[in-house]
Every structure is written in structure tokens, then in C-alpha cells.
Amino acid sequence: MSSRDLVLGRLRAALTVGAHGPVEVPRDYRHAGPRDLDQLVERLTDYRAHVHRVADAAVADTIADILPVGGTVVVPPGLPSAWLPPAVTVLPDEGLDNGRIGAADAVVTGVAIAIAETGTIVLDGSPDQGRRVLSLLPDRHVCVVRADQVVATVPEAVARLTPHRPLSWISGPSATSDIELIRVEGVHGPRQLHVILLP
């Protein structure tokens, strides 16, 4: 007998004991809430992300301020070019190797969605966000969030996302609390998370 049949057989036999049946799941928890950009900013800041609230036209200047002078920036293939300041070296991801991605000063991405109550941004691999590795190896992650991408709650986010895409939910920069429960930012992922929030 295959292990598949063995395991499934054991589980079926186990369920012949006792009463059980389909269980109705109560869904009376909160599903949606008002879009509260101030709350998003507060929660992101609480997780030690840097938040910049600027107008559309100011994205490039804001990024220039975040980066070291003459820095290098990895960008996913579909990133709006207007976001990038002129004085940086841009590395478009056309199959960049991990060494070059990791050595860059920053990556700039868009986001799929942001959740105000939890201070979370979600990337789903769309062209303005790119492969997962892009937002993982560089030490700074700069992401641009439009106000209409912000939802209040986790259920709203789950309803809007597509499960078949690779998803990265990011709440603040990489962090550990494994040593005496003292929070330290930047273990293996980016040490800095910058969120540029547009109106």
C-alpha cells in the first residue's frame, strides 16, 4: 500500500469515531473599515519604517534624498521611470544575478496593496514590483504606495489579492527579537523600509 493510501486510510478510520460534521464558520468579525491614511503612517512608523507623504511629482526627489549620492538602484521591469531621480545608477532587472542585486544601495518597487490597521504592504510580483528576490537582498527597500491601494483591514486585503501570485507581506523592516526579546532591525532582509505615500 502506498503511504498516501495508508495515511488517508488512517485518517478516514480515525474519523469514524465520535460525532462530527460540517461546521458553520461564523464570519461576524470585522471585514472592512474606513480608509485611514494617518493610521497607516502611524502603524508603519511604529514598526520603524520611514514614511514620506509627498505629491506625485515629488517621488523622484524623495528617493534622491533617501539614497546616497550616486547610488545604485535595482528596479523591476515595470516601474514608472518618472519615479527615478536622474543622479542614480539604475539597474533594471533583466535577470540580474543575486550578487548585483545584493550589492545595490536600494530597490524601488510599487505595491499591490497596503493595510492600514497592521502597517503592512503587500507585493504580488506585478511588473512594478518584480521578482521576490529584488525586495529581499538590497539593504534599503523603497516602495511607493498610492492612497487608493490602501485598505483598512486584513480581510479587505485577502479579498483583493490573487493567491496564485507569489505574495510577500511586509510589516516594517526585517527584525528579530530572539535575544532577550530586544527588537533589532535588519537581520537578513532589508535594514530599512521606506514607504512613499502618495495622495
Binding site: 480581510p155 493567491p163 510589516s171
Partner: protein, 473 residues
């Protein structure tokens, strides 16, 4: 037939009973200080973010219902998960027990042509003793979670589900790094940021050069075939993204029916576990994605005693557990003894009910007693597992599983026999009255029953029984 987890492999059985192991940790003041600090801190953080969620009780009720529903339909959900993962380009393996799971992983690693793997912290791989199995097959497993790395380099064992090195303070961690981390800077200080940076430096090259990673899973969605791992450090994202081959091992109970169910657990888990509104990183993937991440994905579905847990109508709710560890942090027993005393990778209240069920209670008889039944664990559980009820249920099973009669069981059986027979009963009462004259008043019972009266007062037999009094009237 349901089968329990096999002995001789993995980490579900302690080498000594809980009371003996607990006595040793109780005598370690440093350990108790570290534990008290940690559990108190996490409790406070967790309470604060739970208070922010006005619908916490509704979320708990939904979480419990999803889990009850999952368990009732486990075989069909697993078949659905298998179909969806396969459809998305993954390969599904079934492991009846720890031995088989270890063999599957070892074979997959060998087939990938490497002798080193990187690992995301995972309870399932600790449960089956994967690291030991890989070591003996000549494959080096590298733990990448900071706490697991501390445990691995220290030649130690994890003592908490969430923060495995909770029993170590910064000075101890510095010493471990200086002793065991290759290439470490000898001037390393015990500042937590410096220690984390040392781990980052040590692991970066390993992340970038190791072709196979092994992870566990927090959730697997039957409806879509989507797997989810929650973490903080980014070591999880590294392992789930960089290698060519990803092997994920999950207990069969980790499946949830629908994509939408994640909206419940992604709120419950971080708040109950680390006391955060959301953990820094949650990764979700479905099979393989061309051009992004591992191009080979293997999912190992593990039984290892879970079917035996499922076969117990009362005990099966232990399978609802989402490994948040909230019950550890509120438990007065765990806070004083620490995780090692439980002898299993699952310590604390949930470990006291899960481990004996996975192994069969006869092999873990002391754990159902490792509790005061105060009920704090039930209140803290985000999926409402009634751990005190399970403890009592398992204590009864322990009593029944004992083959050799104890002095207590002989006495009780003798009492039952006597009370069934009026003549014997009257004689026994006269004998009890005689004991007043036999000089044992206030000194308890004679051996071997004196264990009973060491911690209890033995009431004096009355001068006249009710039956004598009634007859006299």
C-alpha cells in the same frame, strides 16, 4: 488503524519524566530569571495588541470553527490540496511517520546533488529529528533563524516554540558565537544588534550559495494550493526565494479549507504569538512561479501520530493548534520549568496534551500532570483549544494505561469490593474504629499507603458509625 509516532526517532519523548526534569530547571535561578522576563514581556505585548482588536472574540470563534471544520473533513481537504499543488507545478509526498519523512527529504536533497541545505525554523522538522537524520546521511543542515542558530551552534535544544533560545541571555549567546560560529570577529560584544549582525554576516554567503531549502508551513490552503510561512527576520524569505529546490514539510492538520480563512489566522497568529499586529514577513506561494523563486517545489504531508490524535474524539482538538505559543507564556508551570523539562519539541500546555497523544499516553505519562489546571491556557488560546479538558481526559487515559496496579488502585478496588457487601462493610467499619485504639491517630496510613497521607490529613474514624447510631435508635 491509526498509528502513533514511532520511538527512537525525532523529539517527542523526554529521557526522564517531567517531575525529575523540572526539578533540575527549578534549581537554576538564571534560567528562571530569563524565562520570567521573556514570558512577562510577551504577555504584555500580546495583551496590548489584542485589546486593539474589537472583534477578537469573533475572530477566535471563527478560528476555532475553521479548525473544527478542517479536522472533520481532513482527508478530502488533503486530497484537494494535493491536486492544487500538483496543478501548480509542485510535487506532493505522503509520509506516514518521522522515519519516512526523513527518508523522503534525504532522497530529495541527494537527488539535487548537494550536501548542505538551509532551513527555516519549523516545528515539524524538529519533531521528526530531520537535522539528525540529514547529519547521519552526510548532509549538513544550517538553521537560519537566529534563535535556532543559537541553539544549533550551542549544541543545545530549543526551549520555546516561538523563541527557542529564550533560556539564553546575551552573554551566553556571545559565548556560543565566539566558540562555534566560523569566521566570527573575536571582539564581538554582547549587544543584541551586534549579535544579530554577526549572524547576518555569517549566513549571507550560505543563503546565496545553497541550492536546497527546507521549510515548514504555517498554513496550506486546500482551495488554491497556496502555502504560507510567517516570520520576522527575512531568513524565511531567503530560504523560500533563493534556492533552486524548496522542500516544505507540514503536519496534515495545517491545511485550511479556503483562501479566505487566512484572513482569520493572519489576524490571530501574530497578535497571540509575538504580540505584534502583523509579523514583519509573510510569504505565500502556490507551486512554482516561472522566473521567480525555486523552480522545484516538494510538499511533504506528515502523519507521524496525527491520525492517532484524530481518532480520539475529545483529544482531536489538539490538532487545531497553530503553534502560536500563547499558552506557554501564560502558564505558571512553564514559566518556572522552561521548555526542556517537557522533553518534547512541543512544550508548555499544548505540549502536555499534544506530545502524549502523538506518542501514545503510555510513553508520556507524566506530561498530562505537568499543569495546575488553572485554565489560563484556554483563555489565551486564539483557536479556543480546551487544554484543561484535554489534560483531565489524558490523565484518565494514563491511569487506564497503567498495567501494574498501584497501592492506590488496590485500595480503591478493595474499598469497592467491601462496600458492595454489607457484612464486610460493617466489619471494616468496626476495624476502622479499632484503628483509634491501634495508636495511629494523627500519623496517617501505614506503608505503602503513607504516600497518600504525606500531603493530606487522614480524618479520625468516628467513635460511632452512622449505622450503629441508627441501630441504637
Amino acid at each position: 488503524m491509526p498509528a502513533t509516532a514511532p520511538a527512537g526517532v525525532g523529539q517527542l519523548r523526554g529521557e526522564e519524566p517531567f517531575p525529575a526534569a523540572a526539578r533540575r530547571s527549578l534549581a537554576d535561578p538564571q534560567l528562571r530569571r530569563n524565562l520570567r522576563h521573556a514570558t512577562t514581556t510577551i504577555r504584555g505585548k500580546s495583551a496590548a495588541v489584542i485589546a486593539e482588536a474589537p472583534d477578537w472574540e469573533q475572530l477566535r470563534a471563527a478560528g476555532a470553527a475553521v479548525k473544527a471544520d478542517t479536522i472533520a473533513r481532513l482527508p478530502e481537504l488533503l486530497e484537494q490540496l494535493e491536486a492544487k499543488v500538483t496543478e501548480a507545478g509542485g510535487v506532493v509526498h505522503w509520509a506516514a511517520d518521522a522515519v519516512e519523512a526523513n527518508r523522503i527529504v534525504t532522497d530529495l536533497v541527494r537527488a539535487a546533488g548537494t550536501d548542505r541545505i538551509i532551513k527555516v525554523k519549523s516545528m515539524a522538522t524538529q519533531e521528526i529529528g530531520l537535522n539528525e537524520a540529514l547529519d547521519s546521511a552526510g548532509i549538513t543542515p544550517v538553521e537560519t533563524d537566529l534563535a535556532e542558530l543559537i541553539v544549533q551552534l550551542g549544541g543545545d535544544r530549543p526551549s520555546h516554540i516561538l523563541v527557542p533560545a529564550i533560556h539564553r541571555n546575551r552573554a551566553e549567546i556571545r559565548d556560543i558565537f565566539l566558540r562555534a560560529m566560523p569566521g566570527v570577529d573575536p571582539s564581538l560584544t554582547d549587544d543584541p544588534a551586534a549579535l544579530a549582525a554577526a549572524a547576518r554576516h555569517y549566513l549571507r554567503k550560505t543563503f546565496l550559495s545553497t541550492p536546497v531549502a527546507v521549510s515548514g508551513a504555517n498554513f496550506a490552503v486546500a482551495e488554491t494550493g497556496t502555502l504560507a510561512v510567517v516570520e520576522s527576520e527575512g531568513n524565511g524569505r531567503m530560504c523560500l526565494t533563493l534556492p533552486e529546490t524548496l522542500i516544505t514539510i507540514m503536519g496534515v492538520e495545517k491545511v485550511v479549507p479556503t483562501w479566505r480563512d487566512l484572513e482569520v489566522f493572519l489576524q490571530l497568529l501574530p497578535r497571540a504569538s509575538t504580540g505584534e499586529r502583523m509579523n514583519p514577513y509573510t510569504s505565500m506561494w502556490t507551486g512554482v512561479t516561472p522566473g521567480d523563486g525555486p523552480q522545484a517545489f516538494h510538499l511533504v504531508l506528515l502523519d507521524n501520530g496525527r491520525s492517532a490524535v484524530l481518532a480520539d474524539e475529545v483529544g482531536r482538538q489538539a490538532l487545531w493548534c497553530i503553534r502560536c505559543s500563547a499558552c506557554l507564556n501564560v502558564c505558571p508551570v512553564y514559566e518556572r520549568t522552561g521548555g526542556h523539562a517537557y522533553g518534547s519539541v512541543y512544550p508548555g500546555p499544548i505540549g502536555a496534551v499534544l506530545s502524549p497523544q502523538l506518542t501514545g499516553v503510555a510513553e508520556n505519562t507524566s506530561l498530562p500532570y505537568a499543569s495546575t489546571l488553572c485554565g489560563a491556557c484556554y483563555d489565551a488560546c486564539p483557536v479556543k483549544i480546551d487544554i484543561p479538558e484535554l489534560l483531565v481526559h489524558l490523565r484518565a487515559e494514563v491511569v487506564e494505561s497503567r498495567r501494574r496496579p498501584t497501592a492506590e488502585s488496590i485500595a480503591m478496588a478493595a474499598a469497592a469490593h467491601t462496600m458492595d457487601r454489607v457484612g464486610w462493610y460493617e466489619a471494616a467499619q468496626r476495624a476502622a474504629r479499632l484503628s483509634r485504639l491501634a495508636g495511629r491517630r494523627g500519623r496517617g496510613l501505614p506503608p505503602p499507603l503513607n504516600g497518600w497521607t504525606v500531603s493530606r490529613d487522614l480524618p479520625d474514624a468516628p467513635a460511632e458509625t452512622f449505622r450503629d447510631w441508627w441501630a441504637r435508635r
